[in-house]
Amino acid sequence: MAEAKVPAERPLSPHLTIYRPLLSMMMSIVHRITGAALYIGTLLLVWWLLAAVSGPGAYASFQSAAASFIGRIVLFGYTWALIHHMLGGMRYLIWDTGRGFGAAEREWLLRANLVGSILLTIILWVVGGYLMGGLR
């Protein structure tokens, strides 16, 4: 099969730019972006585990990086991306069963996904903050 050198200018099907942004559409995009971010973020998980296995020195440098201002921002974002992607995944699993497609349920699921991810992230960090000060 020979390939044409210059692709002909053909009309394209409507794409993102032509639609009014809808919550379901934005949440679909965010689901993919958080998935890609978590992919990169697993390097932090691998770093943490390898630091733990390498010894106290390596673990101390991981801890100081994680506790730094930038470290905390990255980890907070990582927590939110993880929770958001997990709740989004549950939403898609519900939709996979063919349920929740009515206008009201659909919007409720999307809002619950967004609000739930923010609330759960804050709760986890408040709990984590208490443990940071307490347990040893």
Binding site: L50, A52, V53, Y59, A60, M86, L93, L131, R136
Partner: protein, 131 residues
């Protein structure tokens, strides 16, 4: 199709009428299978991580290596990294159409997820077996 065609029929024409190949949905099913597994495993892993915040190295190494924690963490890593490989493959296939870029990226995706996943599993098992 680099092979010399033995006849004038198109590839589509040759397979039409035979029905589906009974495959091609593997990634779709495994993405959902790992997604379901990821829910309890992520909750477990998050609880483990939270309980380790602020602890010193000796304590973290001991808890991570304890049998129930190590098992949850290894299962979490297997399921998450498998899920991740499928997800990133879908992203690459959606946006990268140039074959010279697409195939190296797909290969890199597999290499990265296996290398990172096995590093994590190795670390946990080493802590657990204490070698």
């Amino acid at each position: 199709m680099s092979a010399r065609p033995s006849n004038m029929r198109t590839p589509l024409g040759r397979v039409r009428g035979y029905g589906s190949a009974k495959s091609g949905t593997d990634d779709f099913i495994r993405q959902r299978l790992t997604a379901i597994a990821n829910i309890p495993l992520t909750i477990g892993a998050v609880l483990i991580v939270i309980s380790l915040i602020g602890r010193n190295h000796a304590s973290v190494a001991q808890i991570l290596g304890s049998t129930p924690v190590a098992i949850v963490m290894v299962l979490f890593i297997i399921s998450v990294f498998y899920h991740m490989r499928i997800g990133m493959q879908a992203i690459i296939e959606d946006y990268v159409h140039e074959e010279r870029a697409k195939y190296p990226l797909l290969i890199l995706n597999t290499f990265f997820t296996i290398a990172a996943g096995f590093s994590a599993i190795y670390a946990i098992l080493k802590l657990s077996f204490g070698v």
